[in-house]
Amino acid sequence: MAAVKYIASEKLPEWLKALASERRVLVPVEEGGGVVFRPFDPARQPVFGSDATAPPKAAVFPACQELFRYENGKDPEDAGKPTLNIIPTIEATPTVVFGAKPCGARGFLIFDRVYQGKKFPDPYYTAARDATVFITMACATVENTCFCNWVGSGPADTAGSDVLLTPIAGGYLVEAVSDKGAPFLDSPLLTDGAAKTAEAEAVRTKARESLAPAPDIADAPAALLAAFDDMDFWRDQSDKCISCGACTYLCPTCYCFTITDETAGNAGRRMRSWDACMHFQFTLEASGHNPRPTKAHRLRNRVGHKFSYYPTLHEGLIACCGCGRCVKSCPVSVDIREIVQNAVARAKA
């Protein structure tokens, strides 16, 4: 039987301290006008009520990471012969991401299928993924940009989490979700929580029921393909887009990157860093040809990838967790919910 524990709010800082003594612990804290994940600092109070501005994506998939170093040299036995040495850099810091909302952890489901494929598994990703534990916090309240229920998720979705906390009176219910998470319930700071499961369930039900009902977007994959060549449609959807990368970099499921080399003298590093399909340069070819020359083309690809191509390739899994960050943080309020619904309506007309 899976253990169910409880931790009182006053005990939480102690638990975090204990966790932080053995590994890096990332918690949501207030910064600027929003909430971001930072390494646990006893002097900074974590906040669990609101969804962080940026998801904890960087804990597993950093904004920039070194793939390998390279060194050009000379053969010690023959000065005329050059040598090239390549030294991979696979590192992973044991990490606990504490207090992310379920949508933040769910994003890794989308990553896993791509980065842990059979033919070319990504060892950098795997090392970080294996080293990271998600102790997520179920949502007690929802915002008007939340649409997790559209994509098969919800305020207490356990997909991607290792331990799930649910806020209840005086503290949090603590439930193990995965084998990786179960040992965390052994902390002496946690007490038995069996008596509080009903209360936690009520919190979760209330949150789920306060979400606006999800429209039927089962036809979205086909509808988006059907709209592919309708550039007037994509012009209308993308008119106000400014082609930055805010939506992409704040999205828990966006996983695209670029690879660049930086050399200093005879040595250097090959790095991979976040990239956004919203940028003009993303698909720009050396000849000057660009398959996605305008923002209409690029927005079409972004929405198409998330709600059509990815689900088609991955048994219906939508490459979106419904967190609404893109809607909230877009400088001009491009709303992906609207675009998907417009495509579905267009296909029906």
């Binding site: 910064e31 600027g32 006008g33 929003g34 971001v36 009520g49 609101s50 501005t53 940026a54 950093p62 904004a63 920039c64 309240t141 915002e143 008007n144 940009t145 939340c146 209308d236 008119d239 106000k240 400014i242 082609s243 930055c244 990368g245 805010a246 992409t248 970099y249 704040l250 670029t258 660049t260 930086e262 790095m271 860093s273 976040w274 956004a276 940028h279 003009f280 340069q281 809607v327 909230k328 943080s329 400088p331 001009v332 309020s333 709303d335 919910r337 609207e338």
Partner: protein, 323 residues
């Protein structure tokens, strides 16, 4: 007929000759408007005019070159249009400018902060009402009343151009600017008071938070080289893609330098930043330097040339000879 209704009529009259007219409409919730591209009379009916019209529609103009477009502007937006005209990034005969007198816009980050103090979140907004003095936001069951002066955008607190500086169709009587409030430049005051190492630490702190999304760059109407930006270019190779304070600060400095004398302080860069980084301060600082050296303000006179896009053999305030 209200000013807005009269404006809609004027836009509908002009629409047949235009690719579209750019304005604002209701957004995804009661606290957000969003840019509107009017192509039909039904579109024009959606046009809104309120303190939620925070976006600068001038950013959409350069890609429309070669086509005729209309644009509805606040006073600050019109300065961006004038700057684009000065640099020939848009053609005067290809834009039709519609204006209304502007009472200012809100800074949503200030609204969110007020709501947070009251223990509610903007993401649960249920109702919004306002008059010229106060705005009342009802969220999470609580009605929170705020003074407009407390939640207005900083630029509005010192705005000297409440009316479009250039317009083809201006509806309503021009309003007089108010005396600038010192609160509007609190960001510069705070930075001026810091020592140089403190300032560096301030910017290093913020650049560490930056996610390099380029929202600040792309929201700027004057930044037209975004598809070929040095921040992402290998030729020339000024920056690497490394996620470090150095790279990101370099980008901000380059961007601010490219805007010196061209930036109209519309504030879109700062508004667009999802991490609430006060990037506008860098541009404001360079602008006041430009003002001191060249007695110049961007985006006011369509016939003017920005000081860094021209030179004088003998500068008024830069004494290079006879030191």
């Amino acid at each position: 007929m209200s000013r807005l209704e009269e404006l809609k009529t004027r836009i509908k009259e002009a629409l047949p000759g235009l690719e579209c007219v750019i304005g604002w409409q209701k957004g995804y919730d009661l606290l957000h408007h969003t840019p509107l591209f009017m192509r039909s009379e039904a579109d024009v009916d959606k046009l809104e005019w309120s303190p939620l019209n925070v976006h600068n529609p001038a950013v959409y103009l350069p890609p429309f070159r070669g086509k005729k477009v209309g644009v509805v502007v606040k006073g600050c937006d019109s300065r961006s249009v004038v700057e684009l005209l000065q640099e020939k990034l848009v053609n005067r005969d290809e834009i039709v400018i519609f204006g209304l007198p502007c009472d200012g816009v809100v800074d949503l980050s200030k609204v969110k902060a007020k709501l947070a103090t009251a223990g509610v979140t903007a993401g649960q907004v249920e109702a919004v009402s306002h008059n010229d003095k106060t705005i009342v936001v009802t969220a999470g069951g609580k009605a929170v009343s705020m003074q407009m002066t407390d939640v207005a955008a900083d630029k509005c607190l010192r705005c000297q151009f409440p009316n479009a500086v250039l317009a083809d169709a201006y509806v309503g009587d021009p309003i007089a600017p108010s005396a600038p409030s010192p609160a509007a430049d609190a960001d510069l005051t705070a930075l001026d008071a810091m020592s140089v190492p403190e300032r560096m630490a301030f910017w290093r702190y913020h650049m560490d938070r930056c996610i390099r999304c380029y929202a600040c760059r792309n929201a700027c109407p004057m930044c037209v080289c975004r598809d070929h930006c040095i921040a992402q270019s290998r030729e020339p190779h000024w920056l690497s893609q490394d996620d470090t304070v150095t790279e990101k600060l370099m980008f901000q400095v380059v961007h601010a330098m490219h805007l010196a004398g061209r930036c109209t302080e519309c504030g879109e860069c700062q508004r667009a930043c999802p991490m609430d980084i006060p990037v506008l301060a860098l541009k404001k600082h360079l602008n006041r330097t430009i003002h001191d050296l060249f007695n110049y303000q961007a985006g006011v006179d369509p016939a003017a040339i920005p000081p860094l896009l021209q030179f004088k053999v003998e500068e008024d305030n830069i004494k290079e000879r006879g030191w």
